[in-house]
């Protein structure tokens, strides 16, 4: 599948609106995890890095491609782990263990 001309512009515009809409109703308490989460999502650059290294022929291309895959993996894996670590700490009152508090 190739994308060109207006299809590309439509794709770009619709994706931009989606990103805007999805974020615009987010409470401030989630801003840091959300930034981290969106940081993880652009880790998808790994796909491009794999393709770049996969079709590299000259030594220079191979070296740059290797660096690209390395960096992109760091983005994806690191972004995922820190986001999950942060979000897993958010707990409602009902999750508190018995005996700590809660009498109203």
């Amino acid at each position: 599948m190739t994308i060109d001309g207006f299809t590309a512009i439509y794709l770009f515009t619709l994706a931009a609106f989606t990103g805007y809409e999805v974020i615009s109703r987010v409470p401030i308490i989630l801003h840091t995890p959300l930034m981290s989460g969106s940081n993880f999502i652009h880790g998808l650059v790994l796909v491009g890095a794999i393709i770049a290294l996969g079709y590299a022929t000259t030594p220079t291309e191979t070296i740059i491609g290797f660096i690209a895959v390395l960096l992109a993996t760091g983005n994806a894996v690191g972004g995922y782990v820190v986001t999950v670590r942060m979000l897993e700490m958010f707990k409602p009152k009902s999750d508190l263990k018995k005996g700590t508090d809660n009498e109203h």
């Binding site: 994706a15 990103g19 989630l30 969106s38 940081n39 290294l53 291309e61 895959v69 972004g79």
Partner: protein, 458 residues
């Protein structure tokens, strides 16, 4: 089934999962499942990419993924919650670097064959992606160093002019490269782009760093989208564009919460030293046990935590104190200013880590009308965000910034290490309020002492 169909179906699924995942991330209840959903999407997209026909270097690819995974995984597991903002900056910079590297390979292929011509739009997108990816790469790494305090602010004369000149050179070299595919131009283009990223971060003060990190996050998204167009990859276009748009909005929201425009953050140095009206009056201090005993005779208490609390590692103790008050039937809340911590929402993460359920935590808009009915407000390590000068002193650099209405409470305790000033470097009018008492000491020790006093009374 042909491989192209498999790949496209996988990318389509991944795109849907990303959008659903981001949507779920916008509520604390569903957020964890949201990022996991996006994670599944990522795995599907990456697995499908190995179906591309006639790829080689497979071992190298797997090796790079393995090394990257180990390093990033260890780093992400080890980092303390207080260090989260700079870690996000680092991972984001890596993504920007990867996008720039992909662009470098595409542009590099033009060098081999001087007659080769890329269509102009493809070329332009490759160069733009390379430029902003490079800026995000060096800019984020420098932001990491600055937040770690490994690097101080560097100011030199004509800084903004020199910065913009470097950016202009980078763009010029990019344009020249379209007409002359030579190695020196190629190198000069990347060198100036990378240099500009470093210079851009260098000129921005520490307090504004979160806004800049968020901006670089949006930059990386756009760079990924640009390179997605260049190598004709729909998944990259969609993921990159969504992050670019979401990141831009997030950046604007953050700047607004700090009462500054984005342009202001980027181009104006924040300076609290050459202001403001001098403050008359004195501050009063109170001994720790006296403050603790007063907590026995109230019905409503609000804690206002700031980054100073996290630095002192006092959040666990504060939650312990809050629990004691809850047991007495006192109404307890935590009030969070949008820029408490080092990034909007960072304080929520730190309190969550200490075990504070999110139902007890209120943001500024929810709680600002409650302060007038509150018996005691305990400010711990927060400063500028409770300074009434933001409302009354037009010469103050923080004038106009929305603040927590702590000054309206019946009694205020400020737990503070010493008489220093806040991030903005200005006097805090709250400390001179007639209802305000300073409780001096290390936050963790002060709170521990308060807990001890309350327990001994039983």
């Amino acid at each position: 089934m042909n491989t192209d169909l498999i790949i496209q179906l996988a990318y389509y699924t991944a795109a849907i999962l990303f959008i659903l995942g981001l949507k779920r991330m916008s509520s604390p209840k569903t957020a964890t499942s949201g990022v996991k959903l996006a994670g599944v999407g990522m795995l599907i997209a990456i697995a499908a990419t190995f179906f591309f026909p006639a790829m080689h270097n497979l071992l190298l690819i797997l090796l790079a993924i393995l090394i990257g995974t180990i390093i990033a995984w260890l780093g992400a597991k080890k980092v303390a919650m207080t260090g989260m903002p700079e870690m996000i900056a680092m991972y984001n910079g890596m993504g920007g670097g990867a996008a720039a590297a992909i662009a470098a390979i595409e542009l590099f292929s033009l060098l081999a064959n001087s007659d080769a011509k890329m269509p102009i739009t493809t070329f332009a997108l490759a160069v733009i992606g390379a430029l902003i990816g490079s800026i995000s790469f060096t800019g984020s790494i420098l932001a990491f160093f600055k937040l770690r305090d490994w690097l101080k602010n560097v100011y030199f004369p004509w800084q903004q002019v020199i910065n913009l000149a470097v950016l202009a050179f980078a763009i010029t070299f990019g344009v020249i490269f379209y007409f002359h595919h030579t190695l020196p131009i190629f190198i000069l283009f990347f060198a100036t782009s990378l240099l500009y990223g470093a210079l851009m971060t260098m000129s921005i003060g520490g307090a504004d760093m979160p806004v800049v990190i968020s901006l670089y996050n949006a930059f990386t998204g756009l760079a990924v989208a640009c390179e997605g167009f260049v190598i004709n990859n729909v998944a990259m276009i969609i993921a990159g564009t969504i992050v670019g748009a979401a990141g831009t909005l997030l950046t604007i929201l953050m700047a607004k919460a700090m009462n500054r425009s984005l342009m202001n953050v980027l181009f104006v140095r924040f300076d609290g030293s050459k202001c403001c009206g001098t403050v008359s009056g004195t501050t009063k201090s109170m001994e720790i046990p006296d403050a603790a005993i007063m907590l026995n005779y109230v019905t409503k208490v609000i804690f206002v935590p700031g980054y100073g609390m996290a630095v002192a590692q006092a959040q666990q103790k504060v939650w312990e104190l809050a629990n004691l008050l809850l047991e007495k039937g006192i109404d307890v809340k935590f009030a969070i200013h949008p820029v408490a911590g080092r990034m909007p929402g960072h304080m929520n993460v730190l309190l969550a880590e200490a075990g504070v359920p999110y139902d007890y935590i209120s943001d500024m808009d929810e709680i600002n009308d409650d302060f007038q009915n509150t018996d005691i407000v305990i400010v711990i390590g927060a400063n500028d965000v409770v300074n009434p000068a933001a409302k009354t002193d037009k010469t103050s650099p923080i004038y106009g910034m929305p603040i927590l209405n702590v000054d309206q409470a019946k009694q205020i305790f400020v737990i503070k290490r010493g008489k220093g000033r806040g991030y903005a470097g200005i006097e805090n009018l709250l400390f001179f309020n007639k209802n305000c008492h300073m409780v001096y000491g290390d936050a963790k020790q002060v709170v521990a002492h308060m807990i001890q006093t309350l327990k001994e009374q039983k």
